[in-house]
Symmetry: C2
Subunit: 340 residues, 2 copies
């Protein structure tokens, strides 16, 4: 079944297709009030919706924004995407969300597909530290707005919206030092990118670290458990942990539980992102109980991130000459002391 088209309305009202198009698109074209009203009325009566595909083909713009993230279920991405989707839809843009699974090939496929759909803008948290940067450059040069979010590529000219990880990490590490921690372990992701390196740099700014206290793992609980166990077996006077992301926390808790080290009382910790404890069995539960008091959290401002991203896109798409600087948003440190 066909949707109602401009032609149908033109036929019904006895005016030209052009006239209908002009009226319905509110173009500043003079036309008789009589006709205008008739056109608007018929369009409404028949619930006319422009065929966005035909329009895109002609305009070479789809009214859509592509969003490519490594994983839409972890960290702050779900929330970021949700906020973005709502804001962009309010501005008349559809959002095409893609999972790159932190895999450059997969990301490339998605980018090519998005491109051949004429997206107007692309928001990306690049996979594998920007291997696809050349492709991104081509996309950008072909007229699509490219904006990095969360993960940015320092050697590329793309604008970005991210968190000022270095400053917050410095503050977080300083807090650990203030708690009497003399040996800071840094627990981070094996797969690196600039935004993560910023955090590590921030910690190094605040406290002196030996290379072997930097533990980089795949975000896989078993591996983290093992690496942390090894680290914690040493006599640990004055030890503390800085977590690059609290999504690594479960593994650390597993290790602490095994070694019967209560956190944070016997091992102060601090990390990025709110700890999310999913109870999927008695094992989980036992590990969570090793956390005996609330720990401070470095929380990124996801709402502001979405806000800035949406603003950049909508403003710049409406007025390509608008100037923008990249944004590094401050994170907030929640020093949540127990009040029990």
């Amino acid at each position: 079944m066909r949707l109602f088209s401009l032609k149908d309305i033109a036929k019904k009202t006895g005016v030209s297709i052009t006239a209908v198009s002009n009226v319905l698109n509110r173009r500043p074209i003079r036309i008789g009030d009589e006709k205008r009203r008739l056109i608007v009325k018929t369009a409404r009566d028949f619930n006319y919706r422009p065929n966005l595909i035909a329009r895109s083909l002609k305009r070479k713009k789809a009214g859509a924004i592509g969003v490519v993230v490594p994983d839409m279920t972890t960290l702050h991405y779900p929330e970021l995407i949700r906020l973005l989707e709502v804001k962009l839809f309010a501005h008349g843009y559809q959002t095409l969300i893609c999972n790159s699974q932190d895999n450059a090939l997969c990301e490339k496929e998605h980018l090519e597909t998005l491109r051949s759909r004429f997206i107007d803008g692309l928001v990306i948290a690049p996979a594998e530290n920007g291997i696809n940067a050349p492709l991104l450059r081509r996309i950008s040069e072909s007229g699509t707005l490219v904006l990095c979010v969360d993960i940015y590529l320092p050697r590329e000219k793309f604008h970005y919206v991210t968190t000022d990880g270095r400053t917050s990490a410095r503050q977080g590490a300083a807090w650990l030092a203030g708690k009497g921690v003399s040996r800071v372990f840094y627990l981070g992701e094996r797969q690196r990118h600039q935004a993560l390196d910023d955090r590590l740099a921030g910690v190094k700014d605040a406290v002196s670290m030996s290379q072997k206290d930097i533990i980089l793992c795949a975000p896989e609980r078993g591996e983290i458990h093992e690496r942390c166990r090894t680290a914690l077996r040493d006599p640990l006077s004055g030890a503390g942990f800085f977590l690059e992301s609290n999504r690594l926390l479960p593994g650390l808790l597993d290790a602490a539980r095994e070694l019967r080290i209560a956190i944070p009382v016997n091992l102060p910790i601090i990390g990025f992102d709110s700890p999310v404890l999913v109870i999927n069995g008695a094992e989980d539960f036992a590990s969570w109980r090793i956390l005996t008091a609330p720990v401070p959290v470095i929380r990124q401002n996801v709402a502001a991130m979405a806000e800035e991203t949406a603003k950049y896109l909508t403003v710049k798409l409406a007025k390509p000459t608008a100037r923008f600087a990249s944004v590094r948003l401050p994170a907030e440190i929640i020093f949540q002391e127990s009040k029990t």
Copy 2:
């Protein structure tokens, strides 16, 4: 900048556009091996990608699936969407994910937009108990495959993939009874739909309930806290809670903590979906501590849900005559006894 088009290739190779189209689309058309190779080679050399917009306009199919859910950040939706996206992309479909915010108007807007983009299929967890069913019917009649997921509309003819909530709820409630619970409180969502009513029905199948022990709240922590406090103030010999969804758990824990009722030792509970405890402050932490042992969880099989959904779409799109029955997937009850 324009992308490479069929015409460009035709010009470069000196054959007709049709020939190029046929070769590149692997249509069973006889053509000289010489030419075929040349075409394929030039296409690859210039990194040709078909203009999907033009193709959609012609075919009236976009190679895209719309997915509309009430909220893509809560419950099992993020995981479901992720799995779907990966599977569908592997089959050559792009996924358009939309948030209806459980708001019929917003949902309607999204549906209209999706429709005017010629999606091939629509996966929807309908908002507000299916107010937009007539629109869905129109979409279905206009040739777009419509499939309900998670939330289904019993009075409509759309196929669906959901969880057999009634059976699992019955088993869960029976477990409570087995634990010596003689008075089951049912904590559920105020906004109803069939899949939720199924759970309530299941509980009623297993235990007799008085109407006033059914507590229906907005999924808002403060309100839940208050309602649960009221319920728990009565002398509560033999009380237990059935949670329609463990996303309501935080409010219950707040109330239990206030009244110093340890869960589950003094108040057995069971509920749908894995409990997710986000620590966003000392208050949260204190409330989570009132949970002193693991509790059983009724876990929906999200992977199977995504699997069935993707299968339905891909098979039925490839072969519209294929017959399918709606699916009610069994949930799994995780009786996670503590081993500490």
